[in-house]
Amino acid sequence: MKKLVVLLLTVCLLISSVACVAYGEDQGTGPSYKFIFMYYTFADKLGSQFKSCMEYLGEAFNVEFQFIEGSLDEEGLAAIEAAVAKGDLDGIMVVASASPALLTIAGDIPVLAVCNAPASEEMVAEAVAFPNYLGAIYDSDYQVGYAAAQGLYDAGCRKVCLAGLTQGLTKSHDDRATAFIDFVNEKEDMELLADNYSYGLMVEAIGSFAAAYPELDGIFCTYGTDAILNAMRTEGLVGYAKLATVDVSSETGTYFDNGTLVWTAGGQYGTAMVAFAIMYNYVIDGTRIIPDPIVSMIRPFIQINGSDAFRNYVTYVDSGEFVYSADEVRDMIHYYNSEADYDYFIELGENYNLEDIQARHGE
């Protein structure tokens, strides 16, 4: 009887093992990999988009994702170190600058910095010394700040204010603010009345601007939330001043329709999808898409300058269909498409806008 029980248990074990293997092989195509994706939070809009598109690509390409919330502080590095120690990790993608500490912990595992401009040239130089550093790919925050200023200027704004995130906290917001100020300085008929940098107090800043400068006709905020949009209403600026932001929120359409919001940008998760392709290229056959990681790959934001453009954005970028399909990402993999090289990726970035997405995915 005991031998029969042992035999039955052994058969069950074998069947379940084979079933798991078979199940794993049926998921997606290609060999199985495991990546880490780290972002400070997956609860906000952009974070949830990052997670969704990575899960989508993971299913299509047989990649298991471990999502880590946090930054590259001690706690974040400890989480990555624990994952590395398990011995089954194939790639690390972080929405942060790849620090020497991270690269050391990663060992042989490739590391790619995603959607975050390197903090400094010195940091890039240090990172490049590590053979497992694949490079950085991010959206051009300087370009988006400059374009936002252009958007306000085109809307007739000449007396403007700037509300940004605390200086030094994140380079992306610093670059947006710097670009905005550069644009204003280039225009003789445009004046920066005041600027304010805070963490989470932009609503107050808008109130202070409105109270101090009755002649104010334009505001740029380096990020956009419903609170900032609603502040335009509570401060009585709807119909009197225009707003430009970066990021899309639930009230974006409303404020485009009433003419308050004249410009915004979004779609950063598309860069993360391209980053996935860069990482996958390396792990599948060692192809380095970024030939010299000292030079980062920079892509544009999707710019939205009106209600019509916003409706297209919602349809083609933010409605569940991703900006790149699994087949389009497959075309970015050199293993499947021999034309997928650095120039191919650069061309993808140059063409990345609403019209391009609409052309690729439109009816």
Binding site: A205, P214, T225, S250
Partner: protein, 333 residues
């Protein structure tokens, strides 16, 4: 009330109002009237409501020598929970206030309970709880809360001023007209003596957290009404919510020499906001504004900390002269 008392009250009132009047006039002149417009005054007063509530909350603990660093995180937690429950129950603004207040008082009770039972220094405890309270919303509401327009009425005038007025009265009553308020001051002056005369320090400290939780709840309702969209934060990101109130607390302690603390707190936070908005009106760059703000605060706190210094030096000198004169007279005898 005799003439001397009336005169003393007038002098103290003038001393209490001297700083805000000075700041107002100075910036009005420097900004050619930009900072003294009706709109700016209303905006400054409106922006002062939240820091005032935060200040009331942490002052109840500060009176007995405890600093509550978890107030900002508790506000965040109460706002997210309160706002979400109000949305779920469809109870509107009243629901936001009710649920935020209940959550705020609960956090206060929890903080007080842990403090009393574990005997951990307040600073250490509240820093730890700050991280805990920041993480708690993620368990139930990982996306935070996003209130619609109809739920944010509390943030606009005159409703925010009605709230402020009610809370000023409540703090005045708690602090000055209840045994609890008197006990807090007694414990804050000298806990050993307070214990020896039979005051229950543990109970009073617990109640200070509980009452502080009431102000935290109302502050949370104001915060979520102002911002409409509030997300959980991490890594002490909630400190920014309580920063203005925290700094205003020190100025309030200076001004409270001349007036009741319930009045000193609004005076101090309005003064801080006038300074901040005054610099915006001046068109100063953010960097220079921050440096000047910090230096100004340092000057105020230095004056506050050393206010009796010259008087003491003068008295010491007089005493030394008197002692010397007596010595000389004994010698001649």
């Amino acid at each position: 009330m005799n003439r001397k008392t009336i005169l003393k009250t007038i002098v103290n009132t003038l001393k209490a109002l001297a700083l805000p009047i000075l700041v107002f006039v100075a910036f009005a002149i420097l900004t050619n009237g930009r900072s003294s417009s009706q709109r700016m005054i209303m905006t400054t007063l409106r922006q002062s409501v939240l820091p005032m509530l935060v200040c009331y909350s942490i002052m109840l603990n500060m009176v007995v020598g405890m600093i509550n660093f978890s107030a900002g995180a508790a506000i965040l937690l109460s706002g997210i929970v309160g706002g979400s429950l109000a949305l779920a129950t469809g109870t509107g603004v009243l629901g936001v206030v009710l649920f935020s207040t209940i959550t705020g008082i609960s956090t206060g009770a929890l903080t007080g309970f842990i403090y009393i039972k574990l005997r951990v220094p307040c600073m250490v405890l509240t820093i730890g709880l700050m991280l805990a309270y920041e993480a708690m919303p993620r368990l139930v509401y990982p996306n935070g809360v996003n209130l619609t327009w109809t739920y944010t009425t509390l943030a606009v005038a005159p409703y925010c001023f009605v709230v402020a007025g009610i809370m000023i009265v409540i703090f005045y009553v708690i602090s000055n007209l209840t045994a609890f308020g008197h006990n807090l001051r007694a414990i804050g002056s000298n806990q050993a003596i307070a214990d020896s005369v039979g005051l229950n320090s543990d109970r009073s400290k617990f109640l200070s957290f509980l009452c502080g939780g009431l102000f935290i709840g109302i502050a949370a309702a104001m915060y979520v009404s102002t911002n409409a969209e509030v997300r959980p934060t991490t890594a002490i990101g909630s400190m920014v919510i309580m920063l203005d109130g925290f700094i205003g607390m020190f100025l309030a302690m200076f001004i409270s020499r001349y007036c009741n603390l319930a009045i000193a707190i609004p005076i101090s936070v309005v003064t801080m906001k006038m300074i901040s908005n005054g610099f915006v009106s001046l068109g100063m760059s953010a960097t220079i504004r921050d440096v000047t703000n910090g230096v100004l605060l340092l000057v105020l706190l230095t004056i506050s900390a050393n206010q009796g210094l010259f008087e003491r030096m003068k008295q010491n000198k007089l005493f030394a002269q008197k002692a010397d004169a007596e010595y000389q007279s004994t010698r001649t005898q």
